[in-house]
């Protein structure tokens, strides 16, 4: 690609040359990032891992229940600070997360309030349950722009998500941060326990596009069908 750029300058290709060079650089970069996705996060020996800023995407209903079950089992000092995000029309998930957080902090003995507080924000949903596929395209585009903005603002080290479509634009935004070289955002996806024999559309997209660094499924049959996924047990 360097050659393309040099040639572009030497031969005076003008705007098109520069454009071609830029596209070439991007393509190579995307391939490089995709290829490095899924590699464990390595640490130099003797170095202690610092806490990771964690973005928890709450998908409403059963998705939120599963995710909070996972969050409750996390080491709260390692996965900190935590930032929760839920669909704008989802009135239940954020209060639920706040309730769990309050209990966890109380259990951890944070009486003086010294632990950094978790944050909560909303995102436009790509698709409501029952929405048609046609209008979904437009709402998805809008949700994507909003997601990129939110991820840039939150600057997560790790994204935890488990569907539905709400998490897709967030994961893509995390991927873009890697592509432009801003920082390594580790995307962790846990397919919903409701998916026994087939991946969800969101899960399938993340799997096929290799957007997730860790892709957990909760039933053995799925691991057999999708060998790059990881099965260690269920959340519920």
């Amino acid at each position: 690609m360097v050659m393309v750029m040099v040639m572009a300058m030497a031969d005076g290709w003008g705007t098109w040359g520069w454009f071609a060079a830029l596209v070439a650089v991007l393509v190579v970069r995307v391939f490089w990032v995709v290829q490095s996705t899924g590699r464990p996060v390595s640490l130099q020996p003797g170095l202690k891992r610092r806490p990771m800023r964690t973005l928890v995407v709450l998908g409403s209903g059963g998705h939120t229940a599963e995710m909070m079950s996972l969050v409750e089992a996390l080491n709260l000092q390692w996965y900190a600070p935590r930032h929760y995000i839920a669909g704008a029309t989802d009135k239940m998930s954020l209060p639920r997360a706040e309730g769990v957080e309050a209990r966890l902090l109380k259990d951890a003995g944070d009486a003086d309030g010294s632990v950094q507080r978790s944050q909560y924000s909303q995102i436009f949903r790509s698709r409501e349950v029952g929405q048609s596929y046609l209008t979904s395209m437009f709402t998805t585009l809008w949700a994507f722009v909003h997601a990129v903005f939110q991820v840039l603002r939150i600057q997560p080290d790790v994204i935890l998500c488990n569907g539905p479509g709400t998490c897709l634009p967030i994961c893509v935004a995390g991927f873009l941060m890697k592509v432009v070289g801003w920082k390594r955002v580790v995307v962790v996806y846990v397919e919903s326990i409701a998916r026994v024999k087939k991946l969800s559309l969101t899960g399938l997209l993340l799997y096929k596009l290799r957007l997730a660094d860790q892709f957990f499924v909760q039933w053995k049959d799925l691991k057999v069908k999708y060998p790059r996924s990881n099965y260690v047990g269920r959340l519920m």
């Binding site: 640490l43 998916r195 519920m236």
Partner: protein, 176 residues
């Protein structure tokens, strides 16, 4: 689960955060009330979710079931815990909350949903005898009449620790 198998108990119907009027309608219909009364239950509480159908309530003075309904509640666990039978939509949240509370569960699939993946989970858990399965609201009454609650197998909840440990290793918090 024999201890909660209910003579005289309360039945709780829940559709979670979804819109599932067909289930609310069917569960509150006179034939269903009669079927539940015949099984020995005395009251019926219905959580309606986003639906617009509001069932006719009853104080039970007429000798039938006592019937109440509400739209949403922040926490349904108390309703589930105090019930002798739960009839639920096929959402994983409601299913696992009920199974973890060790309450007998009848899951009714919403056969009108566009992408109806929900039956997968309910079918799998029904095959393992953790719950009773009805493939649509239309078959609810028939399912209630034919169910054998004593043959249900209690669900052993999983712990998320296995997933968390794998994650800790991947992120370098613990040595792999």
């Amino acid at each position: 689960m024999a201890e909660v198998e209910g003579k005289g108990g309360q039945v709780f119907v829940t559709v979670g955060t979804t819109l599932f009027d067909a289930l609310v309608k069917e569960a509150s219909s006179p034939p269903c009330r009669q079927a539940l009364a015949d099984l020995g239950y005395t009251s019926l509480i219905i959580q309606r979710g986003k639906g617009s159908f509001i069932p006719v309530e009853s104080d039970g003075q007429d000798g039938g079931l006592k019937v109440l309904s509400f739209g949403f509640a922040p926490n349904l666990s108390e309703y589930i815990a105090s019930s002798a039978l739960v009839i639920s939509h096929a959402g994983s949240g409601s299913i696992f909350e009920t199974l973890r509370a060790q309450r007998p569960l009848v899951v009714v699939v919403n056969d009108l949903l566009m992408d109806n993946h929900q039956c997968e989970l309910a079918e799998e858990l029904a095959a393992r005898k953790h719950l009773v399965y009805a493939n649509s609201p239309a078959t609810l009454i028939q399912t209630l009449k034919g169910m054998e609650l004593p043959s249900l197998v209690p669900y052993t909840p999983s712990t998320p620790l296995a997933v968390v440990n794998a994650l800790d290793k991947f992120l370098g918090f613990v040595d792999s």
